[in-house]
Symmetry: C2
C-alpha cells in the first residue's frame, strides 16, 4: 500500500537493522485518517469470507483493528495482556514473548466473547517474530473458533513471523513489507 | 447519554459497590457503533474550543478516543503505560496509581508529539479516582500544552475523580454518570 509506505519513508525512523520507530503516526501519536485508509484496504482484501469478528492485541493494533471492524460492520475483540481485577473469570490464556519489550506476558480471551461459530480476522501493527499473532491464534483455537487470516500494517520480512504463521495454516496480508533496514534506510518488497 | 446508559443496564454487570464489568461492549469486546455514537457526542460537546489533539491512556480509552479524533478531524495521542525499547528518548513521564489493577505504572508522553501550542481533549472509558486522567493532565502541562477538558464514557460519581479534576481547573464531561452501585444494581444520575 503506497500511502503507508510513503508515510513510513517520510516519518518513520529505522534505528538499526531491526527497530523501526513509527511513533508519530501509528504507535504513540496516531494519524486516524491513515489508519482509516489501512482499514479500508483490510476490509476489501478480507471481504466475502464470512468473518464474524475482528481481533487485536492491546494496544498498538487497536486503532487499525477498530476501524476495520467499522468498515466490515463487525465487533472488535481486544486481547488483554494481563487479567485485570475486573476481568478474571472464564478466561482462555496463553504466554507470549514480546520482541519489542524483551519480556513475556500473559494474553487473555474471555469465553463470553467468542465461540466455535466465530471466524476471526486478527489485525496488528507489526509482524516481526509472529509471537503476538501466534498467541492470539492459540487463544481463538482454544475457543474452537476459526482464524481466517492476519492483517498487518508493517511486516519485517527478514524476521520469521510470516513463515511461523504460514506453518500454522494462516494467511498473512501486510500493507507494507520491509525486506531490509539499516540506520536511516528502509527497503520495501514492492 | 441514554444509548450508553441503556446498554450499561442491559449488558453491564455491577459486581459490588465499586466494580462494573463492561467487557462485552467497551473493554474487551468493543461495539464500534456504540463507540461511534459516544464519539459524536464528545465532538459535539467540545466543538469550537480550538482543540488540536485528542489524547487517551492505553488501552481501554483508545476506541472512543480514536473515533472522537476522526469526528473532530484531529490526531490522537496514546499515552503509554511504560516506555518500550523503541520509545525511550525525549519523554515526559509521571507515576500513576491504578484503581482497577491495584498497581502503579509510569505514564509517558513523547516530546515530539506535543508542544505549548496544543489544546488537548483527554478521552477515557472510566472516571473513578481520577488518577489516570490526572496523570495525563500532568504530562500535558509538563509540555506547556493546555488541557481543554476530559471526556468520559462512564463516571462513578461516588468516587472522587470529578472533584479531583475540578480542583485542577479541568471540565469533566461524562456520558453516563453512576451515582451508586451494588451487586446487580446500577443507579444513574440523570
Amino acid at each position: 500500500m503506497k500511502l503507508l509506505e510513503d508515510r513510513i519513508l517520510k516519518d518513520g525512523h529505522a534505528l538499526n537493522e531491526s527497530i523501526l520507530k513509527v511513533d508519530t503516526f501509528i504507535n504513540h501519536q496516531v494519524d486516524p485518517f491513515l489508519m482509516q485508509e489501512c482499514a479500508k484496504d483490510f476490509a476489501e482484501h478480507f471481504k466475502g469470507r464470512g468473518i464474524t469478528k475482528i481481533a487485536t492485541i492491546e494496544s498498538s493494533g487497536i486503532a487499525p483493528a477498530l476501524l476495520t471492524s467499522i468498515e466490515m460492520g463487525l465487533p472488535l475483540v481486544i486481547l488483554k495482556k494481563q487479567p485485570s481485577k475486573v476481568l478474571n473469570d472464564n478466561l482462555y490464556n496463553t504466554m507470549v514473548s514480546s520482541f519489542t519489550k524483551g519480556t513475556n506476558y500473559e494474553l487473555t480471551l474471555s469465553k463470553k466473547v467468542v465461540d466455535e461459530n466465530d471466524h476471526v480476522l486478527i489485525i496488528d501493527d507489526f509482524l516481526a517474530n509472529g509471537e503476538a499473532s501466534s498467541g492470539a491464534i492459540r487463544l481463538f483455537r482454544m475457543a474452537h473458533a476459526t482464524v481466517e487470516g492476519v492483517g498487518i500494517l508493517i511486516e519485517k520480512e527478514f524476521q520469521p513471523g510470516r513463515k511461523k504463521l504460514g506453518e500454522e495454516g494462516i494467511e498473512v496480508y501486510s500493507l507494507a513489507r520491509i525486506s531490509s533496514m539499516s540506520e536511516g534506510n528502509i527497503v520495501f518488497n514492492s
